[in-house]
């Protein structure tokens, strides 16, 4: 009986083996798919998987990239965008290095880095932005700045208050820095616009919103004139003005936070030609936004900038605002006007020393540089940031930075936000630590998919004004913590028209959710990249996502370490369309890939009778796939598409 059973098993196994061999031999069209993916052994585990992938489709490293201008050059083209378009394999090292530099920098270091990326002449190059060694803030080499009588009188009174102990001891010097800084920054700001007539400045201010918002129709000629006039702004001087103001605010803060608070309740205010100077005690105060230098020594304060008298921005051109709040759980509300680190044709720096704060801004708010420089720095606490359009680290002919140090923060915005760089500008959202959540959308609908989804243009998004002006740089950098990112159309390390968008997350188990043109997507001659260096991460998108280049653009998604899950439907996970280059790479970890639709996991195509390149690489771990890929294997997609899952290295280009 046992013997018969044994023979039966042997017979069954033999039949199965014959069957498998038969299936494999028949092969051909669509059959025996599981046998297509034979185990992939490179032989040398140190072989570079990028080279393997390129070789499989008959390419060399030099073949990747765009070294020609497919559109006419304009004065706003950035060197870094040209460089990364020409050498797409530099994108990951560039973004990784940028992320690490920014997380290792203080606010001024971050500002200098960002400015150096968008202007070939860094801020210091003019020699005008250096501070005097005596602590004054007049630009070195510039004629000495004379304070207005009212300013000098105010400073004199503040010194007396300091000496009398009426305000925290030792704080007087900080006000001298702030007042001098305000004046020096204002002078530099005005110099940045000296080539423009008052009519041209008025024209820029009148048309600015129409340029940013697609909702407003603007005739071509007006648009062209706008760009031409905007090009006359001296951006080096503009950046220098921002640097002077930022430096003054930071230096004043260092003095103020050490000042000894002997009594809590006090309030002083002086009207001066550069704006009011206000000092407020460590009590729970309410501020209405009518001071251009404001120091609040603590308490749970309310900054209510919605008041009707603040709506008129007609006379705010060149306004320099420096605000320092030294602690407490504060509430900032300014929905009706540019507020809280909003350099809207001016400069606005806001430093909040800590506490669990709530910021509610409107359009142009919370670290927005719109023909100006806006910086909002929050030094700690679990904070909530809520803005509408052009907010939370957004720059257009200028720099906008939102910097948050520690705490679990919540960022919400409509669109053009959270690390958004438009033409001639840069936007940075830098969060050092904490489990943070980022949300954009739910404001203006995108016309695709019957308007079911919203535009984001956010979370590391660079954008140009197609087809006449190249774009800027948008970066979202998160240092640590388990974070959640949510966006809809255009976001999370993506870009449009000769721009650079990058999302860099250094540590933590993160979740990325977006719809389309996202998660490392370059669209129309631009470069978009998402780099996540650690943690078990989860990526969800619909299409044109996760390492996709569309229309002569470069899109890259790189996740270095961790057991990750990637879900998308079509044109994703290393795909190129309309002659784009899309690269997806996962370094190590046991990963799950779901992308069952068209052109995924190494999907290319022929468009305009030449190829679009899609490269998928998984360099380690035991991975599972729903889609064309397989663990430890190599496969080709449609046309110039290729996937490699092996154990090896990924050698980018420095």
């Amino acid at each position: 009986m046992m013997r018969n059973f044994r023979w039966g098993i042997i017979l069954l196994l033999a039949l199965a083996a014959i069957g498998c061999a038969r299936i494999r031999r028949v092969g051909g069209e669509g059959s025996a798919l599981r046998l297509l993916y034979a185990p992939f052994e490179l032989g040398d585990s140190h072989e570079d998987l990028l080279d393997v992938a390129l070789h499989a489709i008959g390419m060399k490293r030099d073949d990747l990239g765009y070294r020609k201008d497919f559109a006419q050059r304009d004065p706003f083209r950035l060197k870094i965008v040209d460089d990364l378009l020409a050498h797409p394999l530099k994108t990951v090292p560039y973004l990784k290095s940028a992320g690490e530099k920014l997380v290792g920098s203080n606010t001024i270091g971050a500002y200098d880095f960002i400015v150096s990326q968008i202007y070939e002449n860094p801020v210091g190059a003019t020699g005008r932005s250096s501070l005097r060694p005596d602590g004054g803030t007049a630009p070195a080499g510039a004629a000495p700045l004379h304070l207005a009588t009212e300013e000098a009188e105010a400073l004199s009174e503040i010194e007396k208050l300091d000496a009398d102990g009426a305000i925290p001891t030792g704080s007087g010097k900080a006000f001298a820095i702030l007042v001098n800084g305000r004046r020096a920054a204002a002078a530099e700001f005005v110099a940045a616009f000296e080539k423009l007539t008052p009519q041209e400045i008025a024209f820029l201010r009148e048309k600015a919103l129409a340029v940013v918002s697609e909702d407003e129709d603007m005739p071509d000629k007006e648009f062209q004139r706008f760009v031409a006039v905007a090009g006359k702004v001296d951006r080096a001087k503009l950046m220098a003005a921002g640097r002077i103001a930022l430096d003054a605010d930071e230096r004043a803060f260092e003095i103020l936070r050490k000042a000894e608070v002997k009594k809590k309740r006090f309030h002083y205010k002086w009207e001066t030609p550069g704006g009011a100077i206000e000092i407020s005690g460590a009590t729970d105060d309410t501020h209405k936004g009518d001071a251009s230098i404001l120091v609040d020594f603590g308490g749970n304060d309310r900054y209510l900038y919605d008041a009707a008298q603040n709506k008129n921005e007609g006379d705010s051109f060149g306004r320099v605002s420096l605000t320092i709040d030294l602690g407490g759980d504060d509430i900032y509300v300014g929905r009706n006007r540019p507020s809280f680190g909003a350099g809207y044709f001016g400069i606005d720096i806001l430093l909040d020393a800590g506490g669990n704060d709530t910021y509610i801004g409107g359009d142009y708010s919370l670290g927005a540089g719109f023909f100006g420089v806006g910086v909002l720095e929050d030094m700690g606490g679990n904070d909530s940031f809520k803005g509408r359009i052009f907010t939370e680290g957004a720059g257009f002919i200028g720099v906008g930075m939102l910097i948050a140090h520690e705490g679990n923060d919540r960022y919400e915005a409509g669109e053009n936000a959270q690390g958004y760089g438009l033409t001639g500008g840069a936007g940075l959202l830098l969060d050092y630590k904490g489990a943070d959540s980022y949300f954009t959308g739910a404001m203006l609908r995108d016309h695709r998919e019957e308007g079911k989804y919203y535009q984001s243009f956010a979370q590391g998004f660079g954008m140009g004004l197609r087809p006449i002006a190249s774009g800027g740089i948008g970066l979202l950098v998160d240092g640590e913590g388990n974070d959640t990112y949510e966006a809809d159309y255009f976001g999370q390390g993506s870009s449009y028209w000769y721009a650079l968008g990058g999302l860099i997350d250094l540590k933590g188990n993160d979740r990325y959710i977006a719809r389309r043109y996202c998660q490392g997507a370059g669209v129309h001659l631009s470069v978009g990249g998402l780099v996540d260096l650690e943690g078990d991460d989860n990526y969800v998108a619909w299409g044109v996502a996760q390492g996709v280049g569309h229309d002569l653009a470069v899109g890259v998604l790189y996740d270095a370490v961790g057991n990750d899950t990637y879900t998308a439907e079509w044109l994703s996970q290393g795909a190129g369309s309309a002659n784009g280059i899309g690269i997806f790479a996962d370094g190590s970890g046991d990963d799950k890939y779901i992308a069952p639709g068209d052109r995924t996991q190494g999907g290319g195509e022929i468009a305009r009778e030449f190829p679009s390149v899609g490269i998928f690489i998984d360099a380690g771990g035991n991975d599972s796939y729903a889609g064309p890929g397989r663990n430890d294997s190599i496969w080709t997609g449609r046309e110039a598409g290729v996937g490699v899952d092996g154990k090896g290295k990924i050698r980018w280009e420095e």
């Binding site: 494999r24 092969g27 034979a38 992939f40 080709t636």
Partner: protein
């Protein structure tokens, strides 16, 4: 007699003036109509069918719409541009002289798109104009002219396009290769085979072009298989695979023994695409001894329909 003429001349003059004014009024009316339609077409929210309908309406206006359409070739709204190009192509021959003039004009964006639009208009004046544009100092325009000459499929363009395969700009070389493929003149084979040594996008386009030319391209392609350069060999195999012809099988078979797995994979795929019994049998034989997963994948993956 003279008096009669003198007596009638004010009336004739008046009639002429009225006719002139009427013509201006009509032209103005058409211009306004075109502007309105293009504005509507530029709205991203309207469905694509509506845009097609708008384009048809503009085509229906005929030559009178052409002067208003030309400036829109340089519009910032790409939807507007596309409809303008489509409408001008739809109007056809009457639009040709306007487009030729635009191609020679000062606005590079308008010139580029005028050249592209001319590709879709079959008129005796078009090819000479495009050949002239092929000598432009603007490489964008040269690219557009090369592309349009390919669309025209006029064999007169072969020699100038062969010359364009040596253009310093790779976009022009690529466009010339594609155009030569469309024309299909065997005289272009050597120039196209030389492009197999070019950058990736150029050699890829050259491979497609050689496959389009077909059997006359085989000797040059077989020679390229001997180059020893894997990228060139892979591109040549890609072209050979696109020519279903028994003759090339023997040139491909030795490459199944190449030490380069990518070349073996490309060779196997080429044989499968050729699809003759001998090619299929050969692939079936090597499948039994082949170990490399890439080659096996290329042997088994479904061929595109």
């Amino acid at each position: 007699m003279g008096r009669v003429i003198r007596g009638k001349s004010p009336i004739i003059l008046l009639i002429s003036c009225l006719f002139g004014l009427f013509t201006i009024a009509v032209a103005d009316e058409v211009s306004k109509r075109v502007e309105a339609l293009l504005k509507e077409a530029g709205n991203a929210w309207i469905p694509e069918e509506k845009r097609v309908e708008i384009q048809k309406q503009i085509v229906g206006l005929g030559e009178k719409a052409v002067p208003s359409l030309i400036p829109h070739l340089g519009a910032m709204n790409i939807l507007e541009v596309n409809v303008s190009m489509g409408a001008l192509a739809g109007i056809g021959s009457p639009a040709a002289p306007y487009l030729i003039a635009a191609m020679r004009g000062d606005d590079p964006e308008v010139a580029y798109r005028a050249a592209l639009t001319l590709g879709d208009i079959h008129d005796a004046r078009v090819v000479p104009a495009l050949l002239e544009g092929l000598k432009s100092s603007d490489w964008h325009l040269r690219t557009a002219c090369a592309k349009s000459l390919g669309t025209q499929k006029n064999v007169e363009a072969t020699i100038p396009l062969i010359a364009a395969t040596a253009d310093p700009e790779d976009a022009v070389r690529r466009a010339a290769a594609i155009a030569l493929g469309h024309i299909g003149d065997p005289a272009a084979v050597d120039a196209l085979a030389a492009l197999l040594y070019d950058t990736y996008v150029v050699r890829y386009s050259a491979a497609i072009a050689l496959a389009s030319i077909g059997r006359p391209a085989l000797p040059a392609l077989e020679k390229s298989l001997q180059s020893g350069n894997p990228e060139v060999v892979i591109a040549a195999l890609q072209a050979i695979g696109g020519i279903p012809c028994e003759e090339s099988v023997h040139a491909v078979i030795p490459l199944l023994a190449s030490g380069d797995w990518a070349v073996r994979g490309a060779a196997a795929l080429a044989l499968r695409r050729i699809g003759t019994p001998e090619a299929n049998d050969t692939v079936a034989k090597i499948e039994r001894r082949e170990k490399h997963p890439f080659v096996l994948f290329e042997i088994y993956k479904p061929l595109p329909k």
